[in-house]
Subunit: 140 residues, 4 copies
DNA sequence: TTTT
DNA sequence: TTTT
């Protein structure tokens, strides 16, 4: 079937890059996305939602290189469920209480800004570039 | 900021409609969405993710009226976090263990099929219709 | 930057597959998507929008094999502009008048039904499967 | 059925606000969205696509007030076809040639930046706020 | 007509 | 843990 999530938000901390046993890079970071709305009681609600994003391959490297705490990104991806329940995975926090998170596997990460970079130009230059095979040889 | 989720899936059970204290209808139902992919080890993975959807107002009524267990829908909406953590809300299951779910507040529900309905035509007739004010008086 | 279009609709005709000079398959088909809404004057408007979709690579083959006139699909992709204007490309119709179309390059095509297929199960079996490298060796 | 477009881009000019005969505000502006990719021939392609956006009601007013040439926005909406062809409407340019554009009716416009504003804070304060009726009285 |  |  299909599901897709699109997020605009800011990194809560610097990203972290790891490698799988066979050398593939994986970068992860948290993204906060805020909404402000007026609730039923007329009160202003300021809601923050946090996403735990993982990105693989070439984009993992550019995210690790160019994103920093506070960077604004657009992330397009898929929610990752616990494979046995189909719901968010429950984990134990250090204090023994149960936690869960919105885990997102990113297909695309776009850099909308970057804090701590000398030039935003450099950022965009480094943005993962799509290679579209056959683009110039459309047979129609 | 912004986030949006779009889901195509099937209802796990018939929807349930309730009313808020001031009479607004709210319908909720669970949607299962399946993905099939080949994992790193070459094995076929069949992943099911469950969403708990709530829909308000007029659409609540048409969803309650026309959707049934097995109906296929497209849902467009927003994930609802726990307001204190920004992550999925943790609840106690009856057996005492902790649970969490992907809670979605629907802005739009489209009926892609309906089980138990005589005609899909009837379904589509019932699909929530947008009223677009001023549509025919564009000043440009 | 970023733009994305998501469409649910039905094929107006059977798809057509071609090959680029270096042998890459490209399949194209038209998708009609209908909306029903109430205009400002209270009149019911039944709007049909047509998209001209192209899909490349493995998905081109499965689309060509399994989709038929009337098949329902979900398409996720990008609009293709005229490279010189950034707007829809203008072409000459056979009668000499000017035409334009909503050209979409698909990243994903999901089969939501298929006319002419004996079983929907067969369809879904053929749905393009994602290979997610490293999926099972998450280092976190 | 369903279709949806999501765009991130910059305004080419200041927005323009008009009113329908019965006083409803409508604001329109053009948004450019750029993509950079490597074509089949290995050459770098820098593609710009232009969208002509219209937004109605309260959001029309805040867009007119806070957006300026160069402002970055996220637009979520629907493509508007020519009602007789289902394709982009063809118009006559002043030089007599035919033109077409990607017309989008916005459901949501999010301000990702604004040029010419003294404070971005003021911007976001003015961002259209959703009123979610019954939000605090969920009956489940 | 924008932006990098 | 972010941002306004």
């Amino acid at each position: 079937m299909y599901h897709k999530i699109i997020i605009v938000g800011n990194l809560g901390r610097d990203p972290e890059m790891r490698f799988t046993p066979n050398g593939q890079p994986v970068t992860s970071f948290s993204v906060a996305s805020n909404r402000r709305y007026t609730g039923a009681d007329g009160q202003m609600v300021n809601e923050t939602i946090w996403f735990r994003v993982t990105v693989w391959g070439k984009q993992a490297e550019s995210c690790n290189q160019y994103l920093r705490q506070g960077s604004r990104v657009l992330v397009e991806g898929t929610l990752i469920p616990d494979t046995s329940t189909g719901s968010p995975r429950i984990f134990q926090r250090r204090d023994g209480t149960a936690g869960a998170s919105f885990e997102v596997r990113a297909q695309t990460v776009k850099f909308l800004s970057a804090r701590g970079e000398t030039a935003e130009g450099a950022m965009l230059e480094a943005e993962p570039q799509e290679t579209i095979e056959g683009e110039d040889e459309i047979p129609f």
